[in-house]
Symmetry: C2
Subunit: 219 residues, 2 copies
């Protein structure tokens, strides 16, 4: 016996903006949940893998590719979606805010970055998905180099530390942070300094590699 299901791919797109961790939401223009905020996503095309669908949506809604993306969980079940038993493969993506280009054609859906602390009421079970994604993101920061995906190519140590503090929601000790992070050898100093601020210029760093990798230990 063989049955057929509808599958959607939904993405939680994280970025750091205005010193806060934010998620991209769009306003639904169709039923169900018309006019409610939701994660970008959509049905898989015929012969499309969930991953490809997620990348397609990412490109369409945020104008970005070559981005850190990872499968989160597959949700299924009645009650999630009034249209019936729809199965959703959820992804999360990390994007430095410079890379995001909101498409003009999507104006109607008003894609907006919401702070995780002030989320609006959400369609489907997207609140749950976002919570789950945040938990995963925080876990990932502790044993992978994923933080690179939230930072621009060149950055100061302070920006790096802030990125951790914002996503983990904790304060970190400046000296200990430096020590630990330098030991990991993930970043290297460039020849540039950040000048023009009215303080001592800051060394500018870049990641040795901008590819996902696991660490032996961290935090």
């Amino acid at each position: 016996m063989r049955f057929y299901q509808s599958i959607t791919a939904d993405i939680t797109i994280f970025t750091i903006k205005d010193g806060q961790l934010k998620v991209l939401l769009i306003k639904r223009t169709n039923e169900p949940f018309k006019n409610k905020w939701a994660l970008p996503g959509g049905f898989l095309y015929q012969n499309e893998t969930p991953e490809k669908a997620a990348l397609r949506v990412l490109k369409a809604k945020a104008g970005i590719k070559n981005v850190y993306i990872e499968q989160l969980y597959t949700f299924g079940g009645f009650g999630r979606d009034p249209r019936g038993n729809i199965i959703t493969v959820a992804y999360f993506a990390l994007v430095p805010r410079e890379k995001i280009k909101i498409s003009r054609s999507d104006k109607i859906q008003t894609p907006t970055f919401y702070s995780l602390k002030k989320l609006p009421s959400l369609a489907f079970d997207h609140g749950r998905i976002i919570k789950y994604a945040l938990k995963r993101l925080q876990a990932k920061l502790e044993y992978t180099n994923a933080i690179y995906a939230l930072l621009p190519e060149y950055f100061t140590f302070n920006q790096l530390q802030k990125a951790y503090e914002i996503t983990l929601g904790t304060k970190l000790d400046k000296r200990n942070f430096r020590k630990k992070f330098l030991m990991l050898k993930l970043i290297k100093p460039t020849k540039k300094m950040l000048r023009g601020t009215r303080q001592r210029p800051a060394q500018i760093y870049q990641f040795v590699s901008r590819k996902p990798a696991e660490l032996k230990k961290f935090f």
Copy 2:
């Protein structure tokens, strides 16, 4: 636009048997991959969630319920399955071998536990799935109490340590292991001793709780 896909749920069922970590495989009786070994699994029924399908398969093939089960990953893509773009939600389950009851009606499929070190040639991309499941299992042992799911209700410290050694594939120091594990307060001694062996009798322990839980730290 809305399309429909076929979805399967496949399970990697782990158990410890004869001092080895083993996986339950069945011999396929139909094309494709007829007569090849494969993970138990099957298509989702209409209106069935992936999780329910996994539990159904688990019950049918290994005669067990109330078991540690966890979603692993959702695989999709051409090339995986010659029938086309079939999407598979993979699960893994941990079962103490006492609980397993292979159903007689399944004799034709000859469900068999294979050691992870001596796997036969496998159907689909099931080799990859098993590898992935093993990695996840090993990771889980380091920050959860999942080991309980591989052990019977009553066990000795030695069995516990062996369970870790077998699944992680490493030798552990007896004294350090005891110290660390007792600190976690996951197990308590019962009033029974294992007698009848020709050595000093061993204290019999049981888990305080047989529910999944995360640890602050471990291994």
